[in-house]
């Protein structure tokens, strides 16, 4: 069975769109400052907190949120749930932007961006580096995502010959496109292993790659549900409740596996005793668990899953829970030692906000001008 995808059409420059434009302009101002006066000028990044909001949100959380494409591909192509096919392009779209902008924000974040290509040069690469794996996988996956997504553009361009060719080889890219996120979403967690004591005991564990992978996939499903509801609310699309109900049925299982691993590991390693330690960290940990538990409880009930409002809040809880997990591990519960403090600076937040706004603008542009969303029957 194949779907037909159609451009949504409609007015592009809505007030919503213009507001996003303003945010992008503000970010542009800070971006110029960053490149002229250095990273310290716009951010609170320091030698103690070399990674802040940009890495934590734009890269680590951003790509996890952009796992919709990966999660759906897993469902459609590995577990052959063809009925979800109509949702795959929209999911791919957010993935394409999520990853592309994560890549772009890396250019903002790294100090010596003009030498970024060194990660591809054989004389420089360091195979021991987790960072190298992440860098290569993210770059490759972004490329693969564009290839996977290109039918939508090619259809809009009516490049039929190329399209037919692509369809015959696309399965390979689909395969690669599932492998790569599996590798780097887990490795985003492994990045923290080497930081040792700097990462709080409640987050530092050798199974951190597995935990990051599971939450990334879960967040992927969460964001697919969230996005579909967003399209219904903002773009006047019909609700896809039956499909969403089925997708969201997966989420509790994944979360249960995650929680069992997470908490079980804390008990096995004995790090659970850190829960009694003073400071905000135990509460943050409990907040993560609470968000996931809410999602599990809300989505475990079959009838709940057919109600868009519950789907909305529980998918939000999944995404927020996963995001909080990443923020905690990379930023909030990260402690390089006494005397170091970090809270994102206004410039930093503005740039991140601008990137998110740009992502939404691009999403709106593409769904309105290219065949992304499945035609409604």
């Amino acid at each position: 069975m194949t779907e037909t995808f159609r451009p949504l059409g409609g007015k592009l420059f809505t007030r919503h769109f213009q507001f996003m434009g303003v945010l992008v302009l503000i970010a542009g101002y800070f971006l110029i400052r960053r490149f002229v006066f250095g990273i310290g000028d716009v951010s609170n990044l320091s030698d103690g907190f070399p990674w802040g909001l940009w890495i934590t949100y734009d890269v680590v959380t951003g790509t996890a949120i952009a796992c919709g494409g990966y999660a759906m591909a897993l469902l459609v192509y590995v577990f052959n749930r063809g009925q979800f096919h109509p949702m795959i392009r929209a999911a791919l779209l957010t993935s394409v932007f999520g990853y592309t902008l994560a890549g772009a924000s890396i250019i903002v974040d790294v100090g010596r961006y003009w030498q970024l290509y060194n990660v591809f040069l054989p004389q420089y690469i360091n195979l021991n580096s987790v960072m190298l794996e992440v860098a290569l996988c993210v770059t490759l996956y972004t490329l693969v995502l564009w290839i996977e997504f290109s039918p939508a553009i090619l259809e809009a361009m009516k490049a039929n010959r190329l399209l037919r060719f692509l369809r015959h080889i696309l399965f390979f890219f689909i395969g690669v496109g599932i492998l790569l996120p599996t590798m780097h979403q887990s490795s985003l967690g492994s990045l923290l292993l080497i930081a040792g004591y700097k990462v709080h005991d409640l987050w530092q564990t050798t199974i951190i790659p597995l935990l990051f992978l599971i939450t990334a996939i879960t967040m992927g499903y969460g964001i697919v549900v969230f996005e579909s509801l967003y399209a219904s609310v903002n773009l006047g699309r019909k609700l896809e409740t039956p499909l969403l109900a089925k997708i969201s049925a997966i989420i509790p299982w994944l979360l249960i596996v995650y929680l069992v691993l997470r908490i079980g590991d804390l008990f096995v390693t004995g790090n659970i005793r850190a829960i009694a330690a003073p400071g905000p960290e135990p509460f943050l940990f409990l907040a993560e668990v609470a968000l996931f538990l809410c999602a599990i409880i809300a989505l475990a009930d079959k009838h709940h899953r057919t109600r868009p409002t519950i789907l909305f809040w529980s998918s939000l809880a999944v995404v927020l829970g996963g995001a909080l997990y990443r923020f905690d591990a990379f930023m909030i519960a990260f402690d390089p030692g006494p005397g170091w403090h970090y809270f994102p600076a206004v410039g930093e937040m503005s740039i991140t906000l601008g990137i998110v706004a740009f992502e939404i603008m691009a999403y709106l542009f593409f769904v309105k001008k290219t065949p992304i969303l499945a035609a409604e029957h």
């Binding site: 063809g82 030498q115 590798m183 292993l193 080497i194 006494p338």
Partner: protein, 336 residues
Amino acid sequence: MNIDRRQFFKVMAAGSAVAVGASPVQARQCKALPPDAIGILYDANLCIGCKACEHACKDANDMPVSSNGPIDQAHGVVGAWDGDDDLSGRTMNKIKAYVAEGSRTDLDDPEASFIKRACMHCIDPDCISACPVSALTKDPFTGIVSYNPDACIGCRYCQLACPFNIPKFQYDKAFPQIVKCQLCAPRIAEGEIPACCDACPTGASLFGRVEDLREEGHRRLAMQPGEREEFPLNQLGGATREAEAQSYYPHLYGEKESGGTQYLMVAGVPFDKLGMPPVGEESRARLSETLQHTLYKGMVAPGLLLSGLVYAAYQHTRDERDADHADHLEREQDDD
């Protein structure tokens, strides 16, 4: 459909069996001290806080002086003091002072000490394991951990990885670099010793072969307080001076920390009070690399996973290709 899934799981199971079963998890070897490893022994009991080493370090490395507002204000002069209060993008060697809460800074007060912070030149450096582009390298002979700005992409993962918070980054520059002590590698190449050891008036910073320095460190730990002892100046085997030994806290810092370091320290007070972080005896690089190399050994597991995935995707995109084919045929018929 179900058959496909079963097939997929079979492939996956076989893949993981090969990946995990055939290659039992083996921790990466601990790294050994390079044969001609050189380093510094810092003796906080000998340090007088004159900061000659800081001054010499800046001279030797062409580092800019950094003014310090509070000090300038306290002394009523501007720019007279080179006053970074920590290692930074301008300072790769820093003397800090520890004074116990409530104790006066008296002469014989055991609860006071200086400490010199600089790169520890780990035997198994986390920064080197972390760097994606090999911008940080360890000399196979001298063991010096040095930095190559031409390779560096400025990702600052080394800062995150370093348990001693040593690599510093020039956040205030449009074209920044990582800044850290490189044990005056260019001076050593010319047969000199590191500038800090050269400048130290008391032998508190002592240059030498790491193995000899370890021996010297243990000799000091064994000294009886009050006894007059010989202390080498600048470098082992050179001039010496006589002084009264003070009491040492029985720990040669850097002998085992994080897999061992080439910058060693002895002091009169416990090192946690001197701000040395709680690093274990094993480098985190070892754990991280063990995990990565187990998962990606010979790329067997990812390769198998990929073939399984591609196979599944091939199976499950048949409809699309067929539809495309039908579409194609249809169109050809139309053309006719």
